[in-house]
Assembly symmetry: C2
Homo-oligomer: 486 residues x 2
């Protein structure tokens, strides 16, 4: 009994938390309760009309089924239901073959372009069968159809009135907030990843959830993952939002919700680069700390400026403001150029500088056209490199047997990644005896990191274009502060 | 009239296509028709029991609502419905306050962990209200509840019998096929991308749909995109599959569907690298063709071997076979090592070799620790690089004004990407006058491409681990051909 009591307590506490974090859920529940109470009241009140009262289930059904969280969902389901009912009623009067009609309606439901009306077809089938059934029983097709129509209209009317009239919840607003949230999430991820990279913080053991792209509570990971994963949520919300009438801040007929999704898509295109940057942290080949430090300031600046652009765009979307006269990308482009400049100036740091002493290429090698031939004919010229490579070759194959031949049971409990576990950890295993070997591979990984970051900046341009399209089509207001300067 | 006729023709032709490409849809439609005909027949046959016949709608409702495409969906909805009905019936006998119960049930529906039972709560609310309504009217709570229960049981029975008994459609099988398909899609994407990269095929204008991560018919793009985007579909199918009893090739209690999703997640982790490789083709900075040619053979080998591993794993998953005694990764690891070896040997090709003549670093520069200080104190040492960088600086800023200040209307029609449009096209604008400038940036992009490819290979290891876990938990059979050798 005590266990039950504490369970109940936990449920109450949790419910309170859910209610507090999103009070709209509480309001929505109360609204549905109210609508049901109203419809029940209306039906009992109509006691003089027993015919209606007997089929009261249809009104209740309509309320329960039409009542959706957001207004857009309510309308789209409502329309579906209306269409389904009307066409079923019409067809029932004309035809009388349950098997054929049921099959056809179901097949139409699975027809790709009619997917959105799935719900309508279901109601259609239901209505048709019911009318047929009642008709056979009472031979009063018309009466049944009219009764039912009245009850459904009553249910839909009460449902819509309560749902739209009292504290309406708009899918469009949710979509708007989701897009804004994604901007800030990606910005946080970007900053966090660059910081972690510069501080050379490695994962002790990479969580297998990240390796299998499952949800995992890692600050850097959740940031971009939420932006990448919100595709289907956005599509659903957009599907509802386009049903919603102009309201609140979205006072426009045919509001361009599609452009919000497009901006979010452009942001997603950027966040794939953030994901690739995170991949550099997850990778086994890690650039040495001292080289990272050389580019620290520039990387930091790009990161800060990039995150600033994302946050600023996020705020603009939130406040529904146009861009100011200043180019929002100025700072981040300048920072990226400085990074590129530094990379160019110090590109000798990005290949293993020590290696150049061993096999420094003769001048004629720089004539690139025939380099492959010359080189292949003289395999021992680069003996120094060659032996290094074999060292790595060993490391590579030493990884694979663990992957495939180790008895599986050992890993079953932790779901840990074998590959990462047994792969070479440079600091401990390699660098001490063969520092140069490791460097030539690891130093190149710094190039990858910087190019990915620069590509991220390039993609920001596309994001700005998408935002401008949105700000034009959705008629965002001119920015407040800068508006005076112009 | 003619237009109507040709429209009708098109619909028929299309329907035929849909039916032919997935005959299961036709079968499913026929099944629902059959179930509805059966239930109608049963109800009319029971004419002697007018009470039952009057509420026949509940049986029809149950069939229509429970009848889902896959068996798993049918069972999970059926259970939801059963639970909802029973608890509502019980509660209706105990309490009698529509507003409170309706609100509470709706709130519980929105409670995150109960999301899966959303449907059950809806039925609960509906049943409760209906029973209360009938009860008020006739004061026969028990009678209504029992009648309804019988009818629902009848509907569910007929529905389940027809759906499971005749040509059942399993969600688990769909999940299995989806995972297999993803393997082949990613393999095709990988091969296609490397081929395109080596043949230096550039997009004339990058489709804005790709830049906004929307669906777009590009062979390389759809391959990895389908794997990346199938997350929610997999989750849905898994949610249904775990309800399905052992059947066909999945003869096991608690079949590990979760592991299929995990393998697919690991594959997704790989395909993010394929996506990043594609990003190198989309990027503005392109490595010169002659340098790519130097690494052609090695890149090609890694690509072929990598795609082969993916296809082999895909086939193993399809045939439900374990891995053989040979290490499936041998070939691709060897190829990746050779690529890495070549990169090490030719790393002077990956920075701009010509630049080394201008500002060849003195030996003491290779002591990396204090390099940043020395260099910053002598800014003119690298004047050659510096002026190059400024040239790029111009290019960068010349891009941004187009992005932000160009009158928007011009792009509205095509939705084309301005940034890409006005950005520098190396071949035409830069290379002729300032070949070296471009090279130093573009050549580094080859490093990025190779490192991403090598990271892809590293991630394959993790995929193999996930596959082995699946093959153990799902008790895949031993491979046929190699089984004898062991």
């Amino acid at each position: 009994f005590k266990g039950l009591w504490s369970n109940l307590r936990a449920v109450v506490v949790n419910s309170w938390e859910v209610g507090r974090s999103d009070p709209r859920k509480v309001v929505f529940s109360a609204k549905l309760g109210l609508a049901l109470a109203l419809i029940s009241f209306l039906i009992f009140w109509k006691e003089p009309l027993p015919d209606i009262s007997e089929h009261s289930v249809w009104a209740i059904l309509t309320v329960v089924v039409v009542f959706e969280f957001s207004i857009g969902a309510t309308f789209s389901k409502g329309l579906n239901r209306g269409l389904g009912t009307l066409s079923a009623g019409g067809l029932a009067l004309a035809m009388a073959d349950i098997f054929t009609v049921g099959s056809l309606a179901t097949f139409a439901k699975l027809y790709p372009t009619l997917k959105a009306y799935e719900y309508g077809f279901r109601v259609f089938t239901l209505t048709y069968c019911y009318i047929m059934a009642s008709g056979y029983r009472t031979n009063e097709f018309m009466g049944t159809a009219v009764d039912r129509f009245l009850l459904i209209a009553l249910g839909a009317g009460v449902g819509l009135l309560v749902n739209v009239g009292i504290y309406p919840i708009w899918a469009g607003e949710d979509l708007h907030n989701l897009v804004v949230k994604n901007f800030f999430n990606v910005a946080n991820s970007l900053e966090g990843i660059i910081n972690q990279y510069l501080n050379c913080v490695e994962y002790k053991r990479i969580p297998s959830k990240i390796l299998n792209y499952q949800a995992y509570d890692d600050r850097l990971y959740t940031g971009y993952r939420s932006a990448v994963e919100s595709t289907s949520q956005e599509d659903t919300l957009m599907g509802f939002a386009i049903w919603e009438p102009p309201h609140g801040r979205y006072k426009m007929y045919k509001y361009p919700w599609r452009n919000f999704v497009k901006v979010s898509g452009a942001l997603r295109h950027c966040s794939f680069m953030v994901m690739a940057l995170h991949g550099c942290i997850l990778s086994e080949i890690q650039a040495p700390a001292d080289r990272r430090r050389v580019f620290q300031d520039e990387l930091q600046r790009v990161s800060t400026a990039g995150a600033k652009v994302l946050r600023e765009l996020g705020n603009k979307v939130k406040k529904m403001e146009k861009l100011g006269s200043l180019n929002i990308l100025d700072e981040v482009l300048k920072a990226a150029e400085d990074l590129q400049t530094k990379v160019d100036r110090k590109s000798y740091l990005l290949v293993d500088a020590n290696s150049w002493e061993i096999g420094k290429p003769p001048i004629e090698f720089q004539d690139i056209q025939d380099i492959s031939k010359t080189d292949d004919n003289d395999p021992f010229k680069y003996h120094g490199y060659h032996s290094f490579s074999e060292a790595r070759l060993d490391l590579g194959t030493s990884r694979s047997p663990e992957t495939t031949n180790l008895p599986f049971a050992a890993t079953n409990g932790f779901h840990k990644s074998l590959t990462r576990e047994f792969s070479f950890k440079p600091e401990r295993m390699v660098i001490q005896d063969e520092g140069d070997t490791y460097k030539s591979a690891s130093v190149l990984s710094l190039v990858t990191f910087t190019s990915l970051l620069i590509e991220f900046v390039a993609r920001l341009g596309n994001l700005v274009v998408a935002f401008e399209e949105l700000s034009e089509t959705a008629k965002f207001k001119a920015p407040v502060a800068e508006g005076k300067v112009e």
